[in-house]
Point group: C2
Chain length 153, copies 2
DNA sequence: ACCCAGTTGCTTGACATCATGAAATATCCA
DNA sequence: TGGATATTTCATGATGTCAAGCAACTGGGT
């Protein structure tokens, strides 16, 4: 993992200062809210969070099961069940990969695409809190988040 | 919510501008990374994410099961199982509430407190992509997140 | 005071989903 | 042919919901 964590002299004596701790706590709050609203939005469409994530990914592009597992960061055997349930509802279908008969491509159906689109609209939540920020603020926030994430990507 | 799906001019007319969409996407990335690191840090202590969250809450203060469920935003019957598993490991104990014999207070044991402390250090350390931001940047980020979250709290 | 009904807090049970890991199967590739 | 890869199946466990149950608190009415 990130053993590239800088020239830190002592790995754990590194107690964060109050400001950093507050930012961490705030990010934690954001994460909690995001997850909560994501699950609720999915539930409004009778989907679980995992199913909604898969549907969202497949709406962009069909994917082999293995890649789907990679995107979700879980075992391929887990994806089998999630796609099974989406397929049982007619939102997703499995298609053969013409180039490799071992591979099955998961792809959204028309109904699945429509559901994914409605779901995305429902995810307005992230937009609302942002409404209180001016354009300049949003730009600042974007740059800070970019740098934060870019540090280890 | 948006049941205003009438014969609207265009269903996606309330499409957010590109800047807002990018910020939303970045927040999504932060959420994904945060969760991943949280789960990994918990796993390093042979805990699940839910168990780690409960342990972290109880390390601050003993709580009735009901309040714990409220904090986790799940059903009380679910908390029973999570606390059961923590109790089986000696990290948490159930104590009677002197004021109301129906209530059971979940409280960390000494060992639980120690585990919670180690866990928190691991999390602080893991979330240190913030280190790439200057003090001024962090202050700015803090203020932006505060305003974003404060809007609906 | 008493008792009874309703409410509240927690647990239990049945069930669905998500997640892992090991083993089986089919296919690819060197 | 033999080893690697993609998917599935099975067993298992954690998390989550809901309904039902028990214990304890609370508020009337007598």
């Amino acid at each position: 993992m990130s053993s590239s964590a800088g020239p830190g002299p002592s790995p754990r004596s590194r107690r964060a200062d109050p400001l950093t701790r507050e930012v961490i706590a705030l990010i934690g709050d954001v994460v909690v809210r995001y997850h909560q609203e994501y699950e609720e939005a999915a539930a409004r469409h009778s989907l679980t969070g995992a199913q909604a994530r898969v549907l969202g990914l497949l709406a962009l592009d069909p994917l082999p099961m293995r890649r789907l597992a990679g995107a979700l960061r879980c075992e391929p055997s887990n994806v089998t069940g999630i796609v099974d349930r989406l397929e049982a509802r007619g939102l997703v279908e499995r298609r053969p990969d013409p180039g490799d008969r071992r591979v099955k491509l998961a792809a959204v159906t028309d109904e699945g695409r429509a559901t994914a689109a409605r779901l995305r609209e429902a995810l307005d939540f992230a937009r609302e809190p942002l409404a209180t920020l001016s354009d300049a603020d949003r730009t600042t926030l974007r740059d800070l988040l970019r740098r934060m994430l870019g540090a280890e990507l």
